[in-house]
Structures are given as C-alpha cells and as structure tokens.
C-alpha cells in the first residue's frame, strides 16, 4: 500500500533557484493538500485542491504555486527559492472534506535553501 508518496525526500537549493515537489496518491482521493512544518510553528497549509484542475490558497501561499492536472498528482512549485522557505513539506490527501475526515500524509520533503 503506497498511500501518499512524496519526491524528493531531501533537496538543497541556492537562493533564486526553482524546483517542483511531487506528490502522488493511489487512493483515488478528491482532496489534496500541501503543508509546511517549521520548528515552533506547527503545520501550516500552503495550498490545497478540491479536485482535478482546481487549486485554492491556504494560510501561507506566497512564493508557491501548485497544479493538479491529474487527480492522483499534486505539484508544489517554488519559482525563486528563498531561505525563508527552508522547511519540511508534507503532502496530504483525503477522500472528502467533510468534518472529521481523515488526512493521509506523505513522509515529507526536507528542503534547505542556502
């Protein structure tokens, strides 16, 4: 059971470089999310998607773009990386967005921006 798979697991970027994080889920979930986790800040929602071809902004969307061209994939892009984007990034998915619905998380991508 793969569940939610994130690639890559680790990445180091220089300031100004761009990159894309890939999230894939094999559970046929409609909803997908990108979070960042920073020490002392908890998990914060960057962007989310309520279905193929849709995206919406979360709590901290600035500096990031996302795309959901296929239902199973949710991509997070950094066009011009900044040191403030050093963080651990988690992708999650859920079957619905009903109250109390379970979120399934990937194992994270640790990104360092120098």
């Amino acid at each position: 059971n793969a569940g939610v798979t994130q690639t890559p697991k680790f990445r180091v970027l220089k300031t100004g470089q761009s990159m894309t994080l890939l999230c894939a889920q094999d559970m046929n979930h409609e909803y997908m999310y990108w979070y960042r986790q920073d020490p002392g800040m908890g998990l914060r929602l960057i962007h989310y998607s309520v279905g193929e071809g849709t995206t919406a902004k979360g709590e901290v969307p600035d500096g990031y773009n996302v795309s959901r061209l296929k239902k199973q994939n949710f991509l997070l892009g950094l066009e011009s990386a900044a040191p403030s984007q050093t963080s651990v990034y988690f992708c999650a998915s859920s079957r619905t967005d009903r109250e109390g619905e379970k979120l399934f998380f990937g194992s994270g991508t640790q990104l360092s921006v120098l």
Binding site: Y35, G42, Y48, S94, D97, E99, G100, K102, L103
Partner: protein, 112 residues
C-alpha cells in the same frame, strides 16, 4: 485568527508512567483530531472527536473533548517507549479540511 495551544511543549517520562497532554482554544471547534508523528515521517491520525463531552479510547490512550468543544486532552496510561513522538491536535472551524488548524504539538519522550 483561531489558535490552538498545546501543552506541555516537551515531556520526558519513564516507561510505565501516566501522562496527559492538552489542546486548548478560545474558539469552538466543529471537530478535533489527534495525530502522532514519528521522526522523519508524516503525521498519522489517532482519533477524531466531534461531540462535546465525548470520550474515546484507543488501547492505553484516552481522548476527551471538552463539553464546550474548546479543549481536548489525551491521556496515556503506562507509557511505553513506542509512544515516543510528536502529538499534534488539529481543530476544524468551518466544516472543511481547508479550515483545519494544527497546534504546535507536544514532543513526548518515553525512556525505558
């Protein structure tokens, strides 16, 4: 802005001890979830509570939702080293997962 406060931030105990961690807000939750996160992994859902006063048990873990739905607690009986991890509460404030707010977590270490 809704905030979830978790306490304590850190907890280090010996195997066999009991412990309680707390999750509090000034706002009313429509539902609340507890997750456990191990190093290098994503959070894993432990339980969801939706009704004020609700108590749920998961083996040695007991979860309680406050009557006013503004607070929750997680009690672990006879802690084991396998319970070590970061415990996160997440509150929903609007009936949509896009409105799920996470607390900063309680980092628990259980020593043999």
């Amino acid at each position: 802005t809704q905030l979830l406060e978790q306490s304590p931030q850190f907890l280090s105990i010996q195997e066999g001890e009991n412990l309680t961690v707390y999750c509090n807000s000034s706002s009313v939750f429509s539902s609340l979830q507890w997750y456990r996160q191990e190093p290098g992994e994503g959070p894993v859902l432990l339980v969801t509570v939706v009704t004020g006063g609700e108590v749920k048990k998961l083996k040695r873990l007991t979860f309680q939702f406050g009557d006013a739905r503004k607070d929750s607690s997680l009690h672990i009986t006879a802690a084991q080293p396998g319970d070590t991890g970061l415990y996160l509460c997440a509150g929903e404030f609007g009936g949509s997962q896009g409105n799920l707010i996470f607390g900063k977590g309680t980092k628990l270490s259980v020593k043999p």
